[in-house]
């Protein structure tokens, strides 16, 4: 009887470890901000409907965002952004698919701020490029929040327009904030 109890306990521990290992964090309300100001005029937008998931065990991560969901202060800028630069009817979404390379350094059961290295494929305007960047995973009560900041060269994504390099910066700064 004692042996059966020990075997059952070991099996149950295995199930608990397995379930823990499979945990996937997700949000549909993450935030992305970008700033493409090239001159005195502010060219910035925000999207509060970022869809993101990541696996605690593997570090596999995805961020996806719809281009038509970006909000500008100026409606005309928003229209030009969608029609002339991002061609959002043809390329409605942008996404990053990759890994948090140092996922093993993040302890999701201990609150704190952890440096995170992201590596993967970034697709914007129908063009995919390999990217790597650094960010931060903040754990509070077992729930992670990812913060990251990186730059994107518009020319690498075949985004063209007469104001790029003048009123619009050729290199756009992007900030990500996702609370899972």
């Amino acid at each position: 009887m004692k042996k059966i109890s020990i075997v059952l306990s070991i099996l149950l521990m295995g199930v608990v470890v397995h379930v823990h290992a499979q945990e996937v964090f997700a949000t549909k309300a993450g935030q992305i901000l970008f700033n493409a100001s090239g001159g005195a005029e502010k060219i910035a937008a925000i999207n509060n409907q970022v869809d993101s998931k990541f696996g605690e065990a593997t570090g596999q991560i995805i961020f996806a965002v719809l281009i038509k969901g970006f909000k500008f202060e100026n409606q005309l800028m928003e229209d030009h952004f969608n029609e002339n630069y991002m061609e959002s009817s043809k390329f409605p979404k942008a996404e990053f698919k990759g890994y948090i390379k140092n996922i093993k350094d993040i302890n999701f059961s201990v609150d704190g701020k952890y440096a995170a290295n992201f590596e993967g494929d970034l697709t914007i305007h129908g063009v995919t490029n390999k990217v790597s960047t650094k960010g931060q995973v903040e754990v509070a009560h077992g729930k992670p929040t990812i913060n990251g900041e990186f730059s994107v060269l518009l020319s690498n994504y075949n985004i063209k327009g007469s104001y790029i390099g003048d009123k619009i910066a050729g290199e756009v700064k992007i900030k990500v904030n996702c609370k899972y």
Partner: protein, 137 residues
Amino acid sequence: MKRIIYTVLLIILLGAVTTYYYVFVYSKNHHRDVQQETAISVSADSLVAAYEASDSIANAKYLNKALEIKGPIAAKDTNAVGQVTLLLGDSDPFKKRVSITLNTKTPISQKTGDTIKVKGKCTGNLSDVVITDGVIK
């Protein structure tokens, strides 16, 4: 001759003032208001089914359009800036649903399971069909 020059200068000046006003004043203060637009009425389940069948066909019909979506509240929450967010459709979290961000930070009285109508703009399809600028009708 002078009259022609003054007229041309006046036209150029008027053009410059109008352009400046339209680009920097009017466009900053006048945003698209989907609540004033005629909406396509659709159930949450039909909208999801359309996107599950074909992204491109559904986008041609719904992308960037004003929609009035009817369906049961599967979940409600708030986003990073405090706006109310809703999921309309199936209560099964593994199924595609309609993800809506409302134009309000005030908590809503409707409960999970209640069937509601929301008018907003369709921005496309991710793991859920996404609606922004939503207002409960």
